[in-house]
């Protein structure tokens, strides 16, 4: 765990260094960044693509650049340790890394990300045997005046840290389906404007832990590619617990914690 956290921190430091050298939107569209990203995240470990262990559901086109739904589905025997979502062309490509609870048998996790330009999106899962499995999708950029920016800064500040939990009717008889929502601007901190000198400081959720009772469902370690008001819909195997809890941590050191009685599905 501590190794992974160090590694994530490393990615972010690299990015900050990169940010000073080039504007964050300078990537050439069409240039395949995956070989270098894959090397940075997974060194030279072999990655098997499209073997069905992880499936990525992504829209063909990002409709709203600030809110693009992405669903990672995990099939078959539940031996997945962790899964990473990478938006290749974004300023900070690693959107989120999910560590799955060993007993939670998570069937899918859906979240929402910002998409800056035409990009490949990769879902990479690591199974308990240490092997890597991936699936990639290509997402066309949003058109018009859509931007991967916060829609209402004041609103975001006013409701900072509010959390919601919902339970849904699950299509999967083996699992429950739930959603955790968190009010947070998830600001990138890269939005320095040369003319106005206005700077919106980095302020984003870097960690979210969701548990049923004491047992981990998933731990999310994330960055600025996650949309404002981070949102996670997921399926999990119930362990009989009466409560579900979420603890989120942001880059200013704020901790948001809420516990709910597990609701009946709507």
């Amino acid at each position: 765990m501590s190794r992974r956290r160090l590694f994530l921190l490393g990615c972010f430091v690299n990015l900050v260094a990169l940010g000073t050298a080039a504007p964050p939107y300078a990537q050439t569209p069409g240039q395949d960044l995956w070989p270098s990203l894959s090397k940075e995240f997974f060194q030279d470990r072999p990655i098997t693509e499209n073997d069905g262990v992880v499936t990525l559901d992504a829209p063909v086109r990002a409709e709203d650049a600030a809110i693009v739904p992405m669903r990672l589905r995990f099939e078959g025997p539940f031996d997945i340790k962790s899964a990473m979502l990478v938006i290749d062309q974004n300023p900070m490509p690693m959107a989120a890394n999910f560590t799955l609870g060993p007993k939670a048998r998570v069937g899918f996790i859906e979240t929402r990300v910002r998409v800056n330009s035409y990009t490949s999106v990769h879902a990479i899962a690591e199974t308990l045997d240490g092997r890597l499995h991936a699936q990639a999708k290509f997402v066309k950029a949003a058109g018009g005046c859509s931007a991967p920016a916060v829609k209402d800064q004041e609103q975001a500040k006013a409701h900072l840290g509010e959390m919601r939990y919902r339970e849904f009717k699950s299509a999967d008889p083996m699992r429950r389906e739930a959603q955790i929502m968190l009010r947070h601007p998830n600001n990138s901190g890269m939005q320095l404007d040369q003319l106005t000198r206005l700077y919106i400081p980095a302020h984003f959720i870097d960690r979210l832990e969701v548990r049923q009772g004491e047992d981990l469902i998933f731990l999310m370690e994330g960055g600025i590619s996650l949309s404002e008001d981070p949102n996670f819909r997921f399926s999990y195997a119930a362990n009989g617990s009466k409560t579900l809890s979420a603890i989120a941590h942001d880059t200013k050191g704020n901790v948001y914690k809420t516990e709910w009685p597990i609701a009946e599905a709507i």
């Binding site: 504007p23 964050p24 939107y25 300078a26 569209p29 559901d57 829209p59 409709e63 709203d64 600030a66 809110i67 739904p69 669903r71 859906e110 929402r112 800056n116 330009s117 950029a141 949003a142 058109g143 018009g144 005046c145 859509s146 931007a147 991967p148 920016a149 916060v150 829609k151 209402d152 800064q153 004041e154 609103q155 919601r164 919902r166 849904f168 009717k169 929502m181 009010r183 939005q191 320095l192 404007d193 003319l195 106005t196 206005l198 700077y199 919106i200 949309s227 008001d229 949102n231 819909r233 709507i266």
Partner: protein
């Protein structure tokens, strides 16, 4: 010796002037090859009321061929000065706008008002930058431009190409928190800064002399409404707008001028349909990806550019409305 020194300085000055000119000439040649600005006579600027000029934008997505000219632009002429309302989607469009405006009046431009931060309304600002010109906008406009300006310049490379050349993101130096009056000489403009609706920096301009309301993108006609702020905020602000006793309205997109407040009806119907569809889907637990494929679709036949924007509006609206459910 002294004389030589002066001559030398003049020569150096001239040489650096030439170096400045060189890249300008190259880019000008590029532009005329790809997208020559239309002659001013083709840039229609109509007087819709005494001293109120409007250019009707094309109902289309911004592109190199339309020079980004998709938004309605305006100018109001007072006894002493002129106010420009939105500057267009490229420097080329804005220069053509300025030239057409100069054929109608020689009075100084005192104010350039941006109704919000979107590129089709602010990309032309650079053409109007001059001593004595004050850029005016909503209090949130500087922040919105800071967060989005560089992204827009990059994102529109593909569709606008060399038409993007020379565009400067110019923030307002005069910002409006609630309301403000601008005096053009026996002609007052009332500016109102609204809460988050179409975007988080919408500003309207009411010309009291003629009773003309410039609604910016708080009013769409024909062009499907675009939600880049808040769906419920948009509905609410549009209802507040309806109470403004205007004789006519200039929408941000659609015809240059329309009846007030009847012009709000189509937009209201669309936003209400979308809200109802989204609330229904969220209540049933339907996810965002499946919901945006159907929400609002009943309205499809009534609007231009529906396929370009409806799923986006539904996505934005879904993320907003799902917080309503306890």
């Amino acid at each position: 010796m002294h004389g030589i020194n002066i001559l030398f300085k003049i020569f150096v000055g001239f040489a650096s002037f030439l170096t400045l000119l060189a890249p300008l000439r190259v880019s000008h040649a590029d532009q005329s090859a790809a997208t020559a600005p239309p002659p001013p006579s083709l840039f229609q600027l109509d007087e819709i009321a005494p001293g109120v000029l409007v250019h009707q934008g094309e109902t289309a997505m911004m592109s190199a061929s339309n020079l980004g000219g998709i938004a309605n632009l305006g100018a109001i002429i007072g006894d002493d000065a002129v106010a420009v309302i939105d500057t267009g989607g490229s420097l080329i469009e804005a220069k053509t706008f300025l030239k057409a405006l100069r054929e109608k009046t020689t009075k100084p431009i005192r104010y350039v008002i941006n109704t919000h931060a979107h590129p089709d309304h602010v990309f032309g600002n650079g053409a109007f930058r001059a001593p004595g010109v004050i850029f005016v906008g909503h209090k949130n406009l500087p922040q919105a431009l800071a967060a989005r300006g560089a992204f827009y310049l990059s994102a529109f490379q593909e569709t606008m190409g060399s038409t993007l050349e020379g565009i400067e993101i110019i923030p307002p130096s005069l910002t409006v928190t609630d309301q403000a009056i601008l005096d053009l000489g026996h002609r007052n403009l009332q500016l109102v800064a609204w809460k988050t609706s179409h975007s988080d920096c919408d500003l309207t301009v009411m010309d009291q002399a003629s009773g003309t309301l410039f609604a910016g993108d708080l009013l769409f006609l024909r062009h499907v409404p675009v939600i880049d702020g808040s769906l419920l905020g948009f509905l609410d602000v549009a209802e507040q707008l309806a109470a403004i006793p205007a004789k006519r309205v200039v929408p941000g997109h659609g015809p240059a001028v329309a009846d007030w407040p009847n012009a709000l009806n189509d937009q209201r119907a669309y936003l209400l349909r979308l809200t109802a569809d989204l609330r229904n889907a969220i209540r049933k637990g339907s996810g965002v990806s499946e919901t945006v494929k159907t929400a609002g679709r009943e309205e499809a036949a009534k609007w231009s550019l529906f396929e370009n924007y409806n799923a986006r509006n539904a996505t934005t609206g879904y993320a907003e409305l799902e917080w309503e459910t306890p």
